[in-house]
């Protein structure tokens, strides 16, 4: 039985006032409300005074001057080599 994909979200946490939001990891959730609740449970264990941002991974545009992988277009790119970011034609196996 194969599984329908749930969107991937990146999580950023600001641990205390006066600090920056820091990327702490990712999680799967169907929508932003669930993503925020899940992030709170997973990355902060619901500590008070903590601010959380959740962003759909597909909405992140990344670039790095040090990147050397020619597989990627140099501009407007994605943070990961994630399969669901790319449309694969039907019938292609092992992808």
């Amino acid at each position: 039985m194969s599984t329908p994909p749930t969107p991937l979200w990146e999580v950023f946490v600001r641990p205390a006032r006066g600090t920056n939001h820091v990327h702490v990891g990712s999680l799967h959730a169907a929508d932003a409300t669930l993503a925020l609740q899940n992030a709170r449970d997973l990355y902060t264990r619901r500590n008070e005074g903590v601010s959380i941002w959740v962003v759909r991974s597909v909405d992140i545009t990344a670039s790095s001057p040090e990147e050397k992988d020619s597989f990627f277009e140099p501009s407007a790119d994605k943070p990961y080599r994630h399969p669901t970011f790319y449309t694969i034609p039907e019938g292609v196996e092992h992808l």
Partner: protein, 254 residues
């Protein structure tokens, strides 16, 4: 934190009653471990179970201190007829919809209850309530989020959510039944009259159910008895599982 014992037997019994609610529902929720619909939900349900267990421990410790009984004495050495939790807290988990409906109805009640208890004449109960009300606000939010998605998701999830509501709704009435102890506690200014909590509770619950496109069931059957120690048949099995190991080693420390 050192605390004095309850002022009288009634306050002690009241604390134990609230502790029993939290203890038994926590136990039911803990049965989901490793079986939830997704791993994120395993974590969320455990969080709620842990919050409730924490509430249970402080309430039972406080209530039990009046008669020299510890939290474990109360949890592991009382029989079925001595537990005073609502039947709502002991009904089986069923499917995820049943669990979430049970959580919504109970947590909305706990929210009204604890908000009122913050101004209790009993300082210890007021302190417990002040901490618990924040936890319970999150429980309400979590349950609401899921009920809305189940009710307004697929046709299958809607049917299951409605069926869950029909199953659980009858048990909600006991939360608002005034018995002798409840009236005494209200007179003492220690806690709210249960029936007084219902209008606000119904408003909150209805808002969620409406957004979830679910229909309020009829108020025909109103099972009761938990507060008097009359429980469902499933409760005996719950206690057997929960208490067996502790009872097998009388007096042992863990």
């Amino acid at each position: 934190m050192t605390s004095s014992a309850p002022a009288n037997a009634e306050v002690a019994a009241y604390a134990i009653r609230l502790g029993d609610d939290a203890l038994i529902l926590s136990h039911r929720l803990s049965e989901w471990s490793a079986h939830a619909p997704q791993i994120e939900e395993d974590i969320a349900l455990s969080n709620i179970a842990l919050d409730l267990l924490g509430q249970a421990r402080t309430l039972l410790t406080y209530g039990g201190s009046y008669s020299g009984r510890s939290e474990d004495d109360l949890a592991y050495l009382r029989e079925e007829r001595q537990f005073t939790n609502l039947q709502l807290t002991e009904i089986e988990n069923g499917n995820f919809a049943v669990t979430m409906i049970r959580q919504l109805l109970f947590s909305c009640y706990q929210h009204e209850l604890y908000r009122d208890l913050e101004s209790s004449r009993d300082a210890q109960l007021a302190a417990i309530a002040a901490k618990a009300v924040k936890e319970v606000a999150y429980h309400v939010e979590h349950a609401s989020t899921w009920i809305i998605r189940l009710g307004d998701g697929t046709e299958l999830s809607h049917d299951r959510a409605q069926a869950a509501l029909e199953t659980v709704w009858p048990y909600s009435h006991e939360m608002f039944a005034d018995d002798e102890l409840a009236r005494r506690i209200a007179d003492l200014g220690v806690g709210p009259l249960p029936s007084g909590l219902r209008p606000a509770w119904l408003g909150s619950v209805q808002d969620v159910l409406t957004e979830a496109t679910l229909t309020l069931p009829d108020d025909d059957w109103k099972p009761t008895g938990g507060r008097k120690g009359l429980h469902t048949e499933g409760f005996g099995y719950l206690l057997a599982e929960m208490q067996h190991l502790h009872r097998s080693h009388p007096g042992a420390q863990w």
